[in-house]
């Protein structure tokens, strides 16, 4: 019987197989997630700014819609969703920016505005138009939400955070509102 020639010591064999598997699965994972990893940074808000606002290191994921992208003028970045997740500190803190190009903003933007319902109030200095509102779920988690438009592009900004601690002062809330204003100004600014 012909002897199988081993090119590595027997002790290394399982390790090599494991590494091979990891590489192989990484390849498939990477291929499947190719859209998600196309852009390293978020075109409208950089990671350092998000980290500064959220108060710690963040993980950024950028995803692009499956459907055909509408070409933007002057090389402006294509539609995408950026998600910044706080890595340490308050769990559940996520900041998301979803940018969509509308076919007919006069017709389509109304559906976006409806996401704030009647609680929305106008934000000055953000895009062509913007409204802000606060959404609270059954668990008491709070989402700061801004719906805005720059020309024919809409963006939905959400900042989810855990239930506020009892006794949060008006000053704390104002700080959050100021941060929301600052970030949405930046996003709109980048979309102009």
């Amino acid at each position: 019987m012909e002897e199988v020639i081993k090119v590595w010591p027997a002790s290394i064999e399982p390790l090599a197989i494991r590494i091979g598997c990891v590489l192989l699965s990484s390849f498939f994972l990477c291929s499947a997630n190719v859209h998600a990893q196309q852009v390293e940074g978020c075109p409208w808000l950089n990671r350092a700014t998000a980290a500064g606002v959220l108060g710690g290191d963040v993980r950024l994921t950028v995803t692009h819609p499956e459907k055909d992208q509408i070409e933007q003028i002057n090389g402006a970045p294509a539609d995408a969703t950026c998600e910044f997740k706080l890595l340490i500190g308050t769990p559940g803190t996520i900041l998301r920016i979803a940018v969509h190009t509308l076919q007919d903003h006069k017709k389509d933007f109304g559906a976006y505005l409806a996401l704030c319902g009647s609680s929305g109030h106008r934000l000055f200095g953000v895009g062509n138009e913007a409204i802000a509102c606060v959404v609270q779920n059954d668990q008491g988690e709070v989402t700061q939400q801004v719906i805005a438009r720059v020309r024919e592009r809409a963006f939905l900004f959400t900042w989810s955070m855990p239930k506020p601690k009892p006794g949060s002062s008006e000053k704390d809330l104002q700080t959050i509102r100021d941060k929301v204003q600052n970030m949405t100004e930046q996003i709109a600014g980048s979309l102009f």
Binding site: T49, G75, F192
Partner: protein, 796 residues
């Protein structure tokens, strides 16, 4: 009047001479000098400055005091790298790891000119925030928050332009714009791919501690030509600056140490403003060549308010940029910096109504509008009329009687004087800002419009045939650069600005309708809109935003009765009669209509025989007309009336040069330079006089002085390159020759303009000085014909 073929002939002759001179320069310039324009720019930028100014880091040397004790601006340079405190060094190393230097290794701001003490990146947190300052300086904070400086980066009007640079050329090129619009972003290393800089400071644009930290100005080159000091709000007992924020209690204990840290004398100097209110497009940005963008500072320097220019038509008290745009106002909030209940305005009121309109800053908007309407900045003069093409003009209107009847053709001469603006009408980015003349003639009885120019079209854009004070930069395809893609600009097809102190003549023509029963009322206004409609369309999308404000800056109305019109009393805002004629003369002079200018200035002399400038104006016209002996006689008369009149001496020197009287020429120019040491024109001409008399050392001294005043001066670059070479200063000669080569106009550039003008006859007509606005001449070519009254009155 000079006929158009004569002007063409003169232009051709000038071009021929210019071409010959350029050829000579090219022939005699070593190849190494003429090579890479990019290299030329880089070599100057490597030292941080195009000019070899002595290095100064000691502030006491940077701000020498004049004899009167007021600080005097002196250009300075920053030492590139010095040992940095640990925290800053760590930050700088971290940023440098991934920073895209792109253009020149170790220069963090190119294609902008911003520099920072220490010569390396600085942490954004080193700048105390506006909120920190606003804790005590509440009035300053509230004004600043609504002002343009705090919104210099975030406005859609700016972001739309800078985003195009970022998305098409790369974020590193935005350092050109952000050296002024967002200095912290530039100097902290935020303008690079995958930046690690937290940009929350963007919202504050030019925050308190950007201006109040600037330690010196490199030169008046602009493009952010400042040197940012390490921000400090306090000094210690020895006057040493303490970086960063300090407890308020410390400031309150030693307010004098606080003042010493933040109130450098430079803040009150016009050169401080020059670092950003002057800009060029360097070849490192446009891959083409150096192009002047705007020069608000130079315009001020040439205006009567600087008292540095002997050649202005009128005189005024000295007034800086800050004098107009930071006037003291009563305070309404606590302000430790206030004196006697007033504080220098931190609103920097000017022409921008767009930003306060967008942000809903009602107070800023209201004050901006009031500012534009105040100050007697412009004078609109319905100067005269010609009826049915008569040779004789009825002028000045109000002083002379005339008769009018239905079916008469009326040509109205409107003189717009840039009376009290310390810069041009309109300044800076006149491809975006819009000022124009709106002229309307109406039947008083029916209210029906007979003729209207400068109206708003239904889509919100301006009547293309309006007389506007805008410009038209074009790209290499001869297309208007509509969205401020400044790096694509190759030429300016048309620039109809009115320089400070000068006047422009605008002509309108209409026919009095047959049924007109009583009178026709004519109105001329100068309107201003910030910004042009097509630009706001680019920003917000067409028809998707409210109309931006249109402000009437100045206006004049007169009623022309059917039948006899008797003289009427002058309005309180009207200029005196001699000045009305004088402004007309200035307008004609700028339109090359020398005979008419002479006639206008003759009226001035008749009304004010003791007015020396009246004779100088006549001489200036005759100089242009090449009637040198007449000019000499008039200047002699001016000097008789005012023996040390610098303006007359200057023009006399030019006549003496022509007659070969070199000694007299130099003596006169020396006198002018003694009286006006910062006069660009006098320094230039004296340099030329010395050069022609082979006094190289004296010529060099003048051109160096000229370069200190105007670092972009082509004559200085050209002559210094020759003089340095003769003196064996090869490197200096090379640098000056290279700067001349990159800054001189591309001889091919006018072809881009021609392409544009061929496609836009309405602008082509506007670009001819003596055009007439009329609905009676539908073919634009007709509108460019001389007026009926002057058609037969040729000067030659």
């Amino acid at each position: 009047m000079i006929q158009s073929h004569e002007i063409r002939r003169r232009l051709q002759r000038t071009m021929l001479w210019t071409g010959t001179i350029l050829l000579l320069v090219l022939s005699f310039t070593p190849r190494t000098i003429m090579t890479p324009v990019r290299g030329a720019q880089s070599s100057s930028q490597a030292t941080g400055n195009a000019n070899a100014y002595p290095q100064t880091t000691d502030n006491s040397k940077a701000y020498p005091q004049s004899q009167s004790g007021s600080p005097v601006y002196a250009p300075t340079q920053v030492v590139p790298h010095i040992p940095l405190p640990h925290e800053r060094q760590e930050w700088a190393d971290k940023v440098r790891d991934s920073y895209n230097f792109s253009i020149l290794k170790d220069n963090i701001s190119l294609p902008g000119n911003a520099q920072v003490e220490g010569g390396d990146f600085i942490q954004p947190g080193a700048f105390p925030t506006a909120q920190y300052c606003g804790h005590c300086h509440q009035e300053a904070y509230s004004q600043w928050r609504e002002a343009l400086h705090s919104n210099s980066f975030r406005t859609p009007f700016y972001r739309t332009s800078v985003n195009i640079v970022i998305n098409t050329k790369g974020i590193q090129f935005s350092r050109h714009c952000d050296s002024c619009h967002n200095p912290i972003a530039v100097l902290s290393g935020g303008l690079t791919q995958n930046s690690i800089v937290d940009r929350t400071f963007d919202q504050d644009g030019l925050t308190c501690m950007t201006c109040h930290s600037i330690s010196s100005v490199q030169s008046t080159l602009g493009n952010g030509g400042y040197v940012m000091g390490v921000p400090a709000v306090m000094t210690d007992t020895n006057g040493k600056r303490i970086p960063g924020e300090v407890p308020y209690a410390d400031i309150l204990t030693h307010p004098d140490w606080h003042a010493k840290a933040v109130m450098r004398p430079l803040l009150q100097q016009p050169e401080f403003c020059a670092s950003c209110h002057k800009a060029n497009l360097p070849n490192s940005l446009n891959d083409y060549k150096w192009i002047r963008a705007f020069t608000a500072y130079d315009e001020w320097q040439n205006s009567k308010f600087s008292q540095r220019n002997p050649l202005t038509f009128y005189q005024a008290d000295f007034k800086t940029c800050q004098g107009c745009h930071m006037e003291r106002q009563p305070i309404s909030l606590p302000e430790p910096g206030a004196k006697h209940g007033t504080f220098v305005s931190h609103r920097w009121l000017a022409g921008n109504t767009a930003s306060p309109f967008y942000y809903g800053f009602d107070e800023q908007l209201k004050k901006t509008i009031a500012f534009l309407k105040s100050g007697n900045y412009l004078n609109v003069d319905l100067f005269g009329i010609r009826i049915n093409g008569q040779q004789q003009i009825v002028a000045p209107l109000g002083s002379k009687g005339y008769s009018l009847k239905p079916d008469d053709t009326v040509e109205v001469s409107v003189v717009i004087q840039n009376k009290n603006i310390g810069h041009s009408l309109i300044p800076e980015v006149r491809d975006l800002y819009e000022a124009w003349v709106e002229f309307e003639a109406k039947d008083v009885t029916t209210g029906k419009t007979i003729y209207h120019s400068g109206f708003m079209k239904p889509d919100g854009s301006l009547d293309e045939r309006a007389h506007s004070f805008t410009n038209r930069p074009v790209n290499e395809g001869g297309t208007f650069v509509d969205n401020h893609k400044v790096w694509t600009i190759h030429s300016v097809a048309y620039d109809n600005t009115v320089a400070a102190g000068r006047s422009v003549l605008v002509r309108y023509e209409f026919k009095v309708p047959l049924g007109t029963a009583h009178a026709v009322v004519i109105t001329a206004k100068v309107n201003y809109r910030h910004l042009r409609r097509s630009y706001t369309d680019n920003i917000f999308g067409k028809d998707d935003y409210p109309d931006y404000p249109i402000i009437e800056i100045a206006a004049r109305t007169r009623t022309m009765h059917i039948g006899n019109n008797e003289p009427e009393p002058a309005d309180t805002h009207d200029n005196p009669e001699w000045m009305r004629w004088n402004n007309l003369g200035v307008s004609y002079l700028d339109q090359f209509q020398y005979a008419e200018a002479i006639d206008a200035f003759d009226h001035v002399i008749k009304l004010r025989p003791d007015y020396a400038d009246g004779y100088t104006n006549l001489a200036l016209t005759n100089l242009g007309w090449e009637k040198f002996s007449s000019a000499r006689a008039e200047l002699e008369k001016a000097l008789q009336l005012s023996p040390d009149n610098a303006r007359a001496l200057y023009y006399m020197a030019l006549i003496e040069r022509r007659s070969g009287s070199n000694k007299e020429e130099i003596a006169d120019l020396k006198k002018v330079v003694e009286m006006y040491p910062d006069s660009v024109d006098a320094r230039r001409e004296l340099g030329i006089s010395y050069y022609q008399s082979r006094n190289s050392a004296a010529a060099m001294e003048q051109f160096k002085a000229l370069q200190r005043i105007d670092p972009d001066n082509l004559t200085a670059h050209y002559n210094l390159s020759l003089l340095y070479r003769r003196a064996g200063m090869k490197n200096e000669a090379k640098e000056q020759a290279a700067l001349f080569a990159t800054k001189k106009i591309d001889p091919g550039a006018p072809t881009y303009s021609s392409d544009f003008l061929r496609r836009h006859p309405e602008i082509s007509t506007e670009s001819i000085p003596w055009h007439i606005h009329s609905d009676m001449r539908d073919d634009p070519k007709d509108a460019s014909l001389p007026s009926q009254g002057t058609r037969d009155g040729g000067s030659h």
